[in-house]
């Protein structure tokens, strides 16, 4: 660990809310590269607000897709003399930092009054990580969709082979021709066939 960002970063404490251990470690690693931060990871959703209060961090990082994020809003209400006011970092003037964070899917809660330049290395590191996660998420969704479509096409092919005595190739050709004639995707035609067959059975 090299404290490359000078003494201002020293001791700044960061809590990362992330249930996936591998993802959490990746964020921790990239933060370690960005500066000398005191980092805690909270993995369980229950009692989130209380756990965070116990750590009393300067910054909280949480995935925007995490529904438990709403529990953090309680922190913004804490008003006792020992409680530290926490608010989401929403200073839109700060070099588009927050826009970049939102786009990358990370939300940062910071203690009120923390200067944007102290937050910047943290957010820069987190944003880079979260962008990568978001790409992975999109890829996964796409792969899933492609798999689903292939399954449906296979089922439709099987039905056609059985009902019309076609070979697999002929069945696929029929699906493709129908799709082209109707200006639809092969997967959509296959889905329609499977649905109709389900209704008729």
């Amino acid at each position: 660990m090299t404290p490359s960002h000078g003494p201002t970063d020293r001791g700044l404490s960061v809590v990362i809310v992330e249930s996936d251990r591998d993802r959490a470690m990746l964020i921790v690693d990239s933060l370690r590269e960005a500066g000398d931060f005191d980092i805690h990871v909270i993995s369980e959703a229950t009692g989130l607000a209380r756990h965070i209060q116990a750590h009393n961090p300067d910054v909280v990082l949480i995935d925007i897709e995490n529904p438990s994020r709403d529990t953090l809003e309680e922190l913004a209400l804490a008003s006792g003399p020992l409680d530290r006011p926490v608010a989401m970092f929403v200073d839109r003037s700060a070099e588009g930092l927050t826009d970049a964070a939102i786009e990358a899917g990370v939300s940062a809660y910071v203690v009120d009054g923390l200067k944007p330049d102290r937050l910047k290395p943290i957010l820069d590191a987190a944003v880079a990580r979260f962008r990568m996660f978001q790409r992975m998420r999109t890829e996964l969704a796409e792969t899933k969709r492609a798999l689903e479509e292939r399954k449906v096409i296979d089922r439709a092919k099987g039905m056609l082979m059985k009902a019309k005595g076609l070979t697999e190739e002929e069945a696929y050709a029929l699906l493709r021709k129908t799709a082209m004639d109707q200006g639809r995707k092969v997967a959509d035609v296959a889905q329609a066939l499977v649905t109709a067959a389900g209704l008729l059975s």
Partner: protein, 392 residues
Amino acid sequence: MTATRLAVGFIPLLDAAPLVVAQEMGYAAEESLDLDLLRAPSWSSLRDMLVFGRVQAAHMLAPVPVAAALGLGGAGAPLAAVSVLSVNGNVIGTSRALAARLRDQGHAFGFDDAGAAGRALIAAAPQPLRIGVPFPFSMHAELLYYWLSALGLPAPQGVDIRTVPPPLMAEAIAAGEIDAFCVGEPWGSIVVEQGVGELLLPGRAIWSFAPEKVLAARTDWATAEPDLLGRLIRAVWRAGRWLDAPGSRSLAAEILARPEYLDLDAEVLDRGLTGRITIAATGEQRDVPGNLEFHRGAASFPWRSQAAWIAVQLAARTGLDRAAAARTGSGTFRSDLYRAALAATKADLPGASAKLEGALAEETAVASDGGHLFLRPNRFFDRRIFDPDAPL
């Protein structure tokens, strides 16, 4: 003319119905709008999507724009409530263990008497009573604080109100993290369906005409885009009118049940929409007339006095000046923008933009543009009346 695409965010709840129906039943198209409906994972994320311009309008908890105006919470830009999306619709429930204690103490689960249910709950509850609500700034929280304080349980001191996202409410009850909850449908019915809790009271038993969700936009956008905003308000108003027509509710349940909206069983959604609510896994049912209103009695009119009521509750809880909060807060419910949008339609708009809240024991005719407007009963369970001009 090609339709203008407008990104609108929502949370998977029954009261997102006016937005979904506006798009699905063609009311948006009638106004040359194409709503890109984005399901948000949490209220704070939806609020941020709105603040950062990812969506132009959003399904929002009625207290959020008010809280933002009072400087409470993390909103980063002024928000405007340009229309009320829904009135009432929350349910209060308990864990099975607490429900059993209530029964043992002789509570009949009548589902209509907030005084009786509240006193029974306070008597049977562990100390401190832990109650889950979806968001710190919500009608759920405000109704609970109002109800329990009026019955002598000092709130927020005497009760531990915790934030639990609606889809996780059943899990939180099952895990014993909370003893009770207040949540919008269908998530109360989901708790019953999973057999982990029972329902005690509909929110409307506490306040019979509580503004629940609003159509929110960033104030600068709402004032800079009067034409787009007007088209959106009209489309949503017509969707609300359709939703309140007899026979629409079951079809609405089918539409909302789709994977891209709530992705749940239509039968469970039907309960909150029709007000025929199953309160326990034994199948016991209760009828709640007016459980969820979208249109009748000027339900979508954003009354300044509703915002003032919310502002005063928030102020009392956070130590702000109540009269100042009422003034600031009431400005977030934009009855002016709503009127401008609906001026050229058949909508019968009330003559006033503020009223006494809690003063109507029964349906009452009021002065309106068309002269045919009846307001629905509007009562607090303790018969208190809120005067927005003397908010104390």
